[in-house]
């Protein structure tokens, strides 16, 4: 293969807040959209401390499991253009982030089978020379999660559990998903 040589990654550094956050970044759907859920949590370093200078990005299918993208062979999703599929949130002083979105649908896997509803997540921060990638699944999708090919590939149940967002018992429609970059309960990160 004689393709063009690729451009390598560098860290976003400590000043990403100058260029990357958008006012509507965390809103994959507008405030007040019926059925919207919040995914929120903290980005935590290897000492258990907050990462206050990080950026979380999410990408996901719509509620019907389709992507507004020409490489989705099933055609465009329904549900209108207000659903962006993409979310972006800078972390706060306590490492917290928040994304307002719709629950994604399940997806067919190209090899057959079904992927459980999930979001792909990119994490950027000072000290990360390249983004790290993880996935958010939903704790109340027990059956779909049990059949998911990605979760099935992670043998250790404790590691698998780092990919599951849990409903907040105090707030309907809020799911907690902490991201631990390093250490005892380190989140599973993927090579995509």
């Amino acid at each position: 293969m004689t393709g063009l040589p690729l451009t390598p990654s560098q860290t976003v550094g400590p000043f990403l807040a100058i260029g990357l956050p958008w006012p509507d970044g965390p809103d994959v759907v507008p405030e007040g959209t019926p059925g919207a859920i919040t995914i929120t949590g903290r980005l935590i370093d290897g000492a258990g401390g907050p990462v206050p200078d990080g950026l979380i990005e999410t990408w996901q299918a719509g509620p019907d499991g389709r992507f507004d993208h020409p490489d989705d062979p099933r055609g465009r999703p329904g549900g209108g253009r207000a659903f962006r599929g993409f979310g972006r949130a800078a972390t706060g002083p306590d490492g917290s982030y928040r994304i307002l979105t719709l629950r994604p649908g399940a997806l067919p896997a190209p090899e057959g089978g079904t992927e459980a509803p999930h979001l792909d997540v990119s994490v950027f921060a000072r000290g990360l020379l390249h983004r790290v990638v993880t996935r958010v699944y939903f704790a109340d999708e027990t059956g779909a999660n049990a059949a998911d090919p990605v979760l099935a590939g992670i043998a250790d149940p404790a590691r698998r559990a780092t990919l599951i967002a849990t409903p907040d018992p105090g707030q309907a429609g809020v799911f907690r998903f902490d991201i631990r970059l390093q250490g005892g309960r380190e989140t599973v990160f993927f090579d995509v």
């Binding site: 393709g3 690729l6 490489d71 067919p108 020379l129 995509v192």
Partner: protein, 248 residues
């Protein structure tokens, strides 16, 4: 000839993006101290590329206005510094340009100071410079910014540590797999050999690809110096063959 219906297929075919080996810096790089508590300690888990990974946000229209690409006209007066034009193309590894895609940049001012609360470098802020820009690539994948040349600046990584002058770039491409945040440098910077972030890239040839090229033909006479820098995102391995000159 007898015809049979095609076999029922459970699956479908998606593009598959190359997985470059040894291109990006390792996450754990002791020379850059901030990696110590932030680099994952477990190996990454291989994620086969499925629908979520081969699609991605097609951010372009509506995410940038024409004025966003000129960082010298965002305030009442012009910022201090060497006015420059930075342009290039966003391509994939197959040689295809990526049109209509969002490019975002941020940078220090000419004195090497960022407009950010945690930058305590005792160099002046410039009231006429924010240091953020964005634009959308044209039909040939080209982006173009007008800005001022950022200054080098000290940082606390090790004694007498200085970052070479750079502009941060963020690009999306067309698929989640192609997302890239990186930095563009300027030719001939004497600080390259001392910078652990630049040198975290294992292959010196790949490091060199982050250095823009001065181009007199891009320079606007009596006004601004021109630099060219292409960004190449992961391809699908399907190389586009250009016909030899004269074929069309």
């Amino acid at each position: 000839m007898t015809t049979h219906p095609p076999p029922a297929r459970a699956g479908f075919t998606l593009p598959s993006y190359e997985r470059p080996q040894g291109l990006h810096p390792p996450l754990d790089f002791p020379g850059y101290r901030s990696t110590a508590l932030r680099a994952p300690s477990q190996p990454l888990v291989l994620l086969p590329q499925r629908l979520t990974e081969v699609t991605g946000p097609l951010l372009g229209e509506g995410r940038a206005t024409p004025g966003d690409a000129d960082l010298t006209t965002q305030h009442a007066a012009e910022p201090v510094g060497e006015r420059i034009i930075v342009t290039g193309r966003v391509l994939d590894g197959d040689g295809r340009p990526i049109p209509d895609t969002l490019v975002e940049i941020w940078q220090a001012n000419a004195a090497g100071r960022y407009r950010h609360v945690v930058d305590d470098h005792p160099a002046p802020l410039d009231p006429n410079f924010t240091g953020a820009g964005r634009c959308v690539t044209d039909a040939t994948g080209r982006y173009r910014f007008v800005t001022i040349k950022p200054g080098a600046y000290p940082w606390g990584n090790h004694p007498n540590a200085w970052r070479p002058a750079h502009i941060h770039f963020s690009v999306f491409g067309r698929a989640f797999t192609q997302r890239l945040v990186t930095q563009m440098f300027f030719p001939g910077d004497p600080l390259f050999e001392y910078d652990p972030i630049f040198n975290s890239i294992p292959d010196p040839r790949a490091r060199a690809r982050l250095i823009s090229r001065f181009d007199l033909s891009l320079t606007q006479p009596d006004w601004a110096l021109g630099f060219e820098w292409d960004i190449v995102l992961r391809g699908t391995g399907a190389t586009v063959f250009e016909p030899p000159d004269g074929d069309r």
